[in-house]
């Protein structure tokens, strides 16, 4: 019988498998996806948020524990477990050498993300290069990997793991790490979680999934049904506004629309609904998905003029382009009269100061609701561009409650040999909101903890058994 079974194939699962193997356990990894789609959402990630007290290789200045914690507190609105959060934060300062020892390489910040040079370490080649490196290392160390093995249920006995089953196939082990992701690609579950709104719409029907089509939450649901303690709200997720033409799955980073803060955003009724200039787009990245999800038809349009072109990340699909605002309204299928009222009111309210899209500048609106507090320049220079936005779900936050040993809990009691990592427990730390790279910090920290805990549990059983 294998010592440690790892269910899942993304970053957290790989960290767990490598740690368990390094601790001397035999490890079997079960990945639901075929090899070419392996890694869950991790092929789409690109950096790790890292605390550091002084400049460290690719990281500049300092990003101390307290500042990281305050950033997390701010985005989560307090929906976080401080003990577990600080554990992940501290681990983020020391995990990079271990990652390097498994072939992960870092590079200085990318040209479109210079603001993160202080807080985030970027992977050379991005998340898929990281996943490839971990798989190579795992195979070299003798971890067995089985692809196309989606686990649908566990055999449990008094809160202890016995075996995992994929249809007729049964995998027994002395200990198990669950790192099989969230449920964002389970359309039915999303629909049920978001329900029907006052307009009679099912908002989740209009969501796009930015990541893996294999994160169907089958095991998560099964564990909750088996009495495992859950944490988090099923409607909470990392959710950004992405190009409405993005593919249903795996659109990843390139489908983001980066020009929101440079123009205005209107809904299907051609009205603005939020301060586009509240903060830099990356900092407010994770709020626009939910904002659009609350609009009629779960759709909105980001409108810019020619002055913005070249000041934001190039979009993957061309925008709708027009030489006048009324023509743009017609092309976008928006009510022309309302659209022009919205745009004229905005243009008239702009109090231009010194425009600088690289700092929180003093260009703002006066007497306008909602206000635009920075980068408020009138939209007056043709050609104008419009990009349709839809909510894009990256990952969900509903997960299994856990502790500093990454143990799964049943009725408040930690399991002796069942552990959880990654998206399946990120909600312990991240109850809502998001800040770049923190998903990887949590996944790496708890993946490593879960792997160590599982190896310890399995080896203890080896001695006693």
């Amino acid at each position: 019988m294998v010592d440690v079974l790892v269910v899942g194939g993304g970053n957290a699962a790989l960290c767990a498998a490598l740690m368990a193997r390094e601790a001397g356990a035999s490890v079997l990894m079960l990945e639901a996806a075929p090899r070419e789609w392996r890694g869950g959402n991790s092929p789409h990630v690109r950096n790790l948020r890292c605390m550091h007290d002084a400049p460290q290789d690719v990281l500049v200045e300092a990003y101390p524990e307290e500042e990281f914690w305050q950033d997390l507190l701010k985005v989560t609105g307090g929906k976080t477990d401080e003990h577990l959060a600080r554990l992940a934060i501290r681990a983020s300062s020391s995990c990079r050498d271990w990652m390097r020892s498994h072939g992960v390489r870092f590079q200085p910040s990318l040209s479109g993300a210079l603001h993160t040079a202080r807080t985030n370490a970027f992977f050379m080649g991005g998340g898929k290069a990281l996943v490839n490196a971990y798989y190579r290392s795992a195979e070299r160390l003798g971890v067995t990997v089985r692809y196309e093995t989606p686990i649908d249920r566990l055999e449990l006995q008094d809160g202890r793991f016995v075996a995992a089953c994929a249809g007729e196939r049964r995998f027994a082990a002395k200990a198990c790490v669950l790192a099989a992701g969230g449920f964002e690609s389970n359309r039915e579950w999303l629909r049920e979680a978001w329900g029907q709104n006052a307009r009679g719409e099912w908002p989740a029907d209009n969501f796009l999934i930015r990541g893996s089509r294999f994160n169907r939450g089958v095991l998560l649901k099964h564990l909750i049904d088996c009495g495992a303690d859950a944490i988090g709200d099923p409607t909470q997720a990392h959710m950004v506004a992405i190009d409405a033409r993005a593919p249903l799955y795996d659109g990843g980073i390139c489908t983001r629309i980066d020009c929101v803060s440079l123009g205005v955003v209107v809904n299907r009724e051609a009205k603005r609904f939020y301060d586009e200039g509240e903060d830099f787009w990356p900092k407010r990245y994770a709020i626009w998905g939910r904002l659009v999800a609350q609009q009629p038809g779960q759709i909105a349009w980001s409108i810019i003029d020619a002055k913005a072109v070249g000041r934001f990340m190039p979009p993957v699909f061309p925008g709708v382009r027009a030489d006048s605002l009324p023509e743009l309204a017609r092309q976008l299928g928006l009510d022309e009269a309302t659209f022009m009222r919205t745009l004229e009111a905005y243009n008239a309210a702009c109090r231009a100061g010194t425009f600088d899209h690289t700092v929180l500048d003093d260009c703002h609106t006066e007497g306008l609701t909602p206000a635009k507090t920075h980068w408020a320049l009138p939209l007056d220079t043709p050609p104008f561009h419009g990009y349709a936005l839809k909510p894009g779900v990256t990952f969900t936050y509903l997960g299994l409650k856990t502790n500093e040993h990454a143990a799964v809990h049943f009725d408040g009691t930690p399991s002796g040999n069942l552990f959880v990592a990654g998206e399946m427990m990120a909600g312990n730390v991240l109850g809502q909101g998001y800040t770049a790279g923190v998903g990887m910090s949590i996944g790496t920290a708890f993946g490593r903890i879960a792997g160590t805990s599982a190896a310890r549990a399995a080896l203890r059983e080896r001695v006693h058994g």
Binding site: S111, G125, R311, P314
Partner: protein, 376 residues
């Protein structure tokens, strides 16, 4: 308006349009920015007209790293394959800028079989010529191959071919260079381009561990075998140059002793070329099938084979020069050299001059202010 530059509108070929499509996706992602110069050069652009596509395609070292790291690679519906798209355009740029223009079609016909057939045809021709003189299988006094082919005859055969090769490649790269409108080359830019070309910097993967060959593992194999090949070629070339100087300047005709400078250069170069081309040929056979353009493999292999044949026959010639096999070995070697030179301007060798031109443009361009300012 950000598009301040006047760019002539040239319709894109299918291969160029694919690079345009792929780079539009890459430019919105940029995860590969650390691998090589193609991606930072890309981020200085918002669109990809034909001349820029040609430039970026020749800046690509076909290392494969960005394919294995790509979240949008097949089977993703975006089907992003940068190395393959770039390789197809490179093939078109070699043919499109060929001089004389009409000979550009030779790129499509420069296969392995053709190259070897040309080499053996020429060798056979030489063998027949020697046989007419009746000295095909005989010892030659002191290994003096001028007794087989007089020096004047060799010069009159090779000098025009060599001059034509230099002219054809110079005209081709000049045409390419004008198309990509690179701007003024400063001393530091020239120095950097030369260093990057001589070190094959962009085959280091950005982290010094190399690029990808058969799978997602990084390896320095291609960089090293390419170094053996390139520097081996240069040493052989240097041997010929020194021998020419000896002949005309000092009146010291060949053959030279084993410890002479031309021999030392030639032997080292020949051994290095044999190692390098054997390695590159082996890597070419093992290459991940989706890297590069499979249609250009005959061209790649033809060039590698001719280089290998030239180097190995040269070494054999040196070993058998005191035996009766000298005339035969000489014919084979000269046939290989002649075939190699005849195909240089219309084969894989062209990648060297086009790549250096693209590297120089990048070295110039990176010193110019970036008009696209997307950073926060």
């Amino acid at each position: 308006m950000a598009e301040g530059r006047v760019i002539p509108i040239v319709p894109l070929s299918a291969a160029q349009a694919e690079v345009d499509r792929v780079l539009t996706i890459c430019n919105a992602c940029r995860y590969c920015e650390g691998f090589c110069a193609v991606f930072p050069a890309m981020t200085r652009r918002l669109s990809f007209p034909a001349a820029d596509v040609d430039y970026l395609a020749n800046l690509c070292h076909n290392c494969g790293a960005c394919l294995h790291a790509c979240q949008y690679a097949p089977p993703h519906e975006f089907a992003v394959n940068v190395p393959q798209a770039m390789a197809r355009v490179r093939g078109e740029t070699y043919a499109g800028h060929a001089w004389p223009r009409a000979l550009g079609v030779l790129y499509q016909r420069n296969g392995l079989v053709l190259s070897l057939a040309l080499a053996s045809g020429l060798a056979l021709f030489l063998v027949l010529a020697v046989m007419r003189e009746g000295g095909f299988w005989q010892r030659v006094d002191g290994g003096n191959f001028y007794a087989v082919f007089p020096h004047g005859l060799m010069v009159s055969l090779f000098a025009p071919v060599f001059a034509f090769v230099v002219l054809a490649l110079a005209m081709a790269v000049r045409h390419f260079w004008r198309g990509i409108s690179p701007g003024e080359a400063s001393g530091p830019a020239v120095g950097e381009a030369a260093r990057d070309a001589l070190r094959l910097r962009y085959l280091d993967g950005g982290h010094g561990e190399g690029c990808n060959e058969a799978d997602d593992r990084y390896t320095l194999a291609r960089r090293r075998f390419h170094h053996f090949t390139f520097y081996g070629f240069l040493l052989c070339f240097a041997a010929t140059c020194v021998a020419t100087l000896y002949h005309y300047l000092f009146g010291w005709p060949a053959p030279y002793g084993v410890t002479s400078l031309p021999k030392l250069l030639g032997i080292t170069g020949g051994v290095s070329l044999v190692i390098g081309t054997a390695g590159l040929g082996w890597l070419n056979l093992k290459r991940h099938p989706t890297h590069g353009d499979v249609a250009q493999r005959p061209m790649d292999r033809g060039f590698i084979a001719l280089l290998f044949l030239t180097a190995s026959s040269g070494l054999v010639l040196m070993l058998v020069r005191s035996t009766a096999a000298l005339p035969l070995a000489l014919c084979v070697h000269l046939g290989a050299v002649m075939a190699l030179f005849l195909t240089l301007p219309y084969g894989k060798f062209a990648h060297g001059v086009f790549r250096v031109a693209a590297l120089l443009k990048w070295a110039i361009e990176k010193r110019q202010p970036n008009t696209v300012g997307v950073g926060e």
